[in-house]
């Protein structure tokens, strides 16, 4: 086996989001491992797992790590990466089993560095169990996981405070969480205020702090309720080219789930919006809105405050929004605003069935004026019996209710009044309908006259209700692959239930209606072969078809 060649090919496949290629390389590797006389070199094994981790191929990472360990490459580093993949796949119990043995081995071998990492992961696993259980409303004895997490993080911090800052800040964060959750700790391992100050002072003294140091400093400031300084550190963190979507999402989770920052409190919301704006702009990022209306309103407020700050104190403004951060934040808020016109299409009892969006009728056809129309897929909503019999089956108009989760009236439901236009799932897969009562929609999409260049560099954004759940911006690997009227192919992987979602270009102009996805989508423009892709229908093609149908 030529390990170097394999690593290079794996790197290429991962970089180009060639999932099938990544899976093939992993399959080849695991098969080869069993016929090799010796275990794979640690350096190569680590390189493979690092590539898979960076691109979040956790399932493949687990498979490869299993094979590596079974064939004799069971160095602490490999077992740690294995445990990390298990945690990231929500297999925390299995991860803890691996980590306990790893901890014992590191203690026995006196490997302080790996021991600190193992303890940190043990802490992370317990933290994740605690946070998940509390979010689910658990009344059971989950506090022991919080205590276990605090103990695991505190030990390495206590042993080498200057080196293990991330252990220290997690200890601080979880002690604060324990206070908020009224969990009593008999003898806290550290004093929150003292430790926070020490961590911040240490990072301030660094000539060139690493990106993680900036995130840690921001957390230390939050612990001291200094949200203004926290925002400056987060500004440095998010503007670093070294931050990828995975790291940014992890930091956002820490602020949302552990620190429980409140998006209704402007100073705290500012931190969340800064991270979300950065995440939305990063390749491979994913953003889901738990409280769509509140979050959209809060982001607008923050943008307004930022504008005021610029006029009042440009120095402070530059610290927080310098470089391109203000522009990227405006872009983020613009994107959030689009969500106001995105609808969840539910069945009669309120189960999510698909996504749709509102457009001014006159944008669709000149004869439709003074009212908003709903645009979705024919396989989501149709009055054609053939669509009801299809799989997935469309709902008839009288069994549908429509809600706008990010509008000012998120609980209001609308019924379908009439279907104005429909084109079946094998054609444009589009239904355009009027609603039973007027909608006060504040957001009107701008429709792009042209599709982005199919040069492999353009990104598209899908906003919908995956699985009928919360509003979500689909940002994974969201490159436009190709287009051929009326279809456009892109890699943004959308979950079931995203059917009927609007597809936007990089400046939030509507370019298409999402309708399908698959791992073996036939290529366009006469190219042979298949690829993993999603498919949308060009909005201009739909409008032309409506014009042809309605005259």
């Amino acid at each position: 086996m030529d390990a170097s060649a394999l690593v290079r090919e794996l790197e290429r496949a991962a970089r180009t989001f060639d999932r099938a290629g990544v899976a093939l390389q992993c399959e080849t590797l695991t098969a080869d491992l069993w016929v090799q006389a010796r275990p794979l070199e640690l350096q190569d094994a680590k390189a493979v797992l690092d590539i898979l981790r960076r691109k979040r191929y956790f399932a493949l990472m687990i498979d490869v790590a299993e094979a590596l360990i079974q064939t004799g490459q069971d160095a602490p580093r490999i077992r740690r990466l294995y445990a990390q993949a298990l945690i990231d796949s929500d297999q925390t119990v299995a991860a803890l089993a691996v980590l306990r043995v790893l901890r014992q081995d590191c203690e026995a071998q006196g490997d302080a560095a790996e021991l600190a990492e193992a303890l940190g992961l043990i802490g992370r696993a317990h933290k994740q169990i605690y946070v998940t259980a509390r979010s689910a409303g658990s009344e059971g004895d989950v506090g022991r996981h919080l205590l276990a997490a605090i103990d695991s993080y505190a030990v390495p911090f206590d042993a080498a405070a200057g080196l293990n800052l991330w252990h220290g800040i997690n200890t601080v964060a979880l002690l604060c969480r324990a206070q908020r959750d009224n969990i009593e700790i008999d003898s806290p391992p550290i004093d929150i205020g003292t430790a926070s100050k020490a961590i911040l002072a240490h990072i301030k003294a660094l000539t060139t702090p690493e990106i993680w140091d900036c995130a840690t400093a921001a957390e230390a400031c939050v612990a001291m309720s200094d949200y203004s300084q926290a925002l400056e550190w987060l500004g440095r963190y998010t503007s670093s080219a070294a931050v990828d979507a995975f790291e940014c999402a992890s930091t956002l989770r820490q602020f949302e789930q552990v620190w429980q920052l409140d998006h209704s409190e402007p100073p705290q919301a500012a931190l969340l919006h800064t991270l979300r704006a950065a995440l939305l702009a990063l390749e491979g990022g994913e953003l889901r809105l738990e409280h769509a209306l509140d979050e959209v309103s809060s982001a607008q407020g923050f943008l307004h405050d930022a504008g005021q700050l610029q006029q009042r104190d440009n120095t402070q403004f530059e610290k927080v929004f310098g470089g391109d951060r203000y522009k990227s934040f405006k872009w983020y808020v613009d994107g959030l605003n689009q969500a106001r016109a995105v609808a969840v299409i539910e069945d009669a009892v309120g189960n999510g069935h698909g996504t749709g969006f509102l457009l001014p009728g006159s944008d669709v056809h000149p004869s439709i004026s003074d009212e908003w129309v709903l645009v979705t897929n024919a396989h989501v909503l149709s009055d054609d019996p053939a669509e009801h019999a299809g799989s997935p089956s469309a709902l008839p108009p009288d069994e549908v209710q429509v809600r706008l989760e990010a509008s000012d009236t998120p609980d209001a439901t609308y019924e379908i009044e009439a279907i104005l236009f429909s084109s079946g799932r094998t054609e444009l897969d589009c239904t355009i309908a009027t609603l039973s009562e007027p909608v006060a929609c504040e957001q009107s999409f701008r429709i792009s006259k042209h599709l982005p260049l199919a040069d492999g560099q353009q990104r598209v954004y899908v906003i919908g209700h995956p699985g009928g759940g919360k509003l979500s911006f689909s940002l994974h690997d969201n490159f436009l692959l190709d287009h051929e009227v009326p279809r456009l192919h892109y890699r943004a992987p959308t979950e079931g239930g995203s059917s009927g979602s609007p597809v936007f270009n990089s400046t939030w102009r509507l370019i298409g209606l999402h309708h399908a996805g698959g791992s073996k989508m036939g290529k366009l423009n006469g190219e042979a072969g298949v690829y993993e892709a999603n498919e949308g229908i060009s909005m201009t093609a739909i409008i032309e078809a409506v014009a042809a149908a309605l005259g």
Binding site: D324, S448, K449, H450, P452, L453, Q458
Partner: protein
């Protein structure tokens, strides 16, 4: 598909692909993502007619504020000594207008006419661009504009020699011939010396394909020494390139841009005696107001370009 043909300006440039990427990136920062909006782009690249090799990666003329990139624009003006007659007189006139020969470190001995009627003398003198840098840029500008207008010979590399005007006109017309095959709209966006080239071709070269929209940025087209030397002869009342440009002409300028002399040009390029060119003022930050990247990152410039492209 809409298309934009760019034409770059004075001094040496990064290699063509990088320059095109830089310009698209700046427009994107201004809110106009051309590729995302389905607009293809190309570049009429003529720096290699004047310079032996492109600027190295990381070395940018646009970084002139920091003094970078000026070493290779400190032109030797000995070529002027060989000129004669009207050509010499004109170059000497332009040399005086540009303040190329001012000797004092701060340019105190150069008393220019205000480049725009709205700029106070105090404001103009407050340009923080170090004079030695500005003087070098002006020398490069003087050489480029002379060599183009008078079709001088340039030998940037051993064994290679170009008639500057003839060759650059060919480059421009060839690129437009390719680009005009798109469905359109087709817009030419030129900066600095590129505006002299694009205007000359659109106005004076019969074989040049027509375009739908025209944008000049940081243009010296208001300099009388420039328009007095067009061939055929310039006539302000009919100077608009009516055959070459079927739609609008937007001229974007910063009044403290040292190259965009007499920055407002609407009254210099009339269409059948009527003002039709739309002069649009922007304010670029910092000392180096002539920067193409600063111009393209201006939101209002991007809006005008989007309108020309009918996006």
């Amino acid at each position: 598909m809409p298309h934009v043909t760019f034409v770059h300006g004075i001094c040496n440039q990064p290699e063509k692909t990088q320059l095109l990427r830089n310009w698209n990136q700046s427009l994107s920062e201004g809110g106009l993502d051309l590729a995302g909006a389905g607009v293809s782009t190309s570049m009429v690249y003529w720096a290699d007619v004047m310079y032996p090799e492109p600027l190295a990666a990381g070395d940018s003329f646009e970084a002139v504020e920091g003094g970078l990139g000026t070493a290779d624009v400190d032109e030797d003006l000995a070529w002027i000594d060989e000129l004669q007659g009207n050509e010499k007189a004109l170059v000497e006139s332009m040399r005086r207008s540009l303040g190329v020969d001012s000797a004092s470190p701060d340019g105190d001995d150069f008393k220019p006419e205000a480049p725009d009627e709205n700029v106070s003398k105090l404001e103009f003198e407050a340009i923080p661009l170090p004079w030695f840098i500005k003087r070098r840029v002006m020398k490069a500008f003087l050489r480029d504009v002379h060599h183009y207008l008078f079709d001088a010979t340039s030998s940037p590399r051993p064994g290679e020699s170009f008639r500057v005007k003839e060759h650059i006109r060919d480059l421009f017309v060839s690129q437009l011939s390719i680009d005009s095959q798109n469905e359109g709209p087709h817009v030419v966006v030129s900066h600095s010396m590129g505006t002299v080239i694009s205007y000359d071709c659109l106005k004076n070269v019969p074989a040049c394909p027509a375009i739908d929209g025209y944008m000049t940025v940081g243009s010296p087209l208001g300099l009388s020494e420039v328009h007095d030397n067009y061939d055929p002869r310039y006539n302000a009342k009919d100077a608009f390139p009516s055959v070459g440009v079927s739609g609008d002409w937007i001229n974007v300028y910063d009044r403290l841009d040292p190259v965009a002399f007499n920055a407002r040009i609407a009254d210099d390029y009339l269409k059948s005696g009527t003002e039709v060119v739309q002069d649009h003022r922007v304010t670029n930050g910092g000392a180096w107001r002539h920067s193409s990247l600063k111009y393209f990152a201006q939101e209002s410039l991007c809006e005008h370009l989007a309108n020309l492209l009918e996006l």
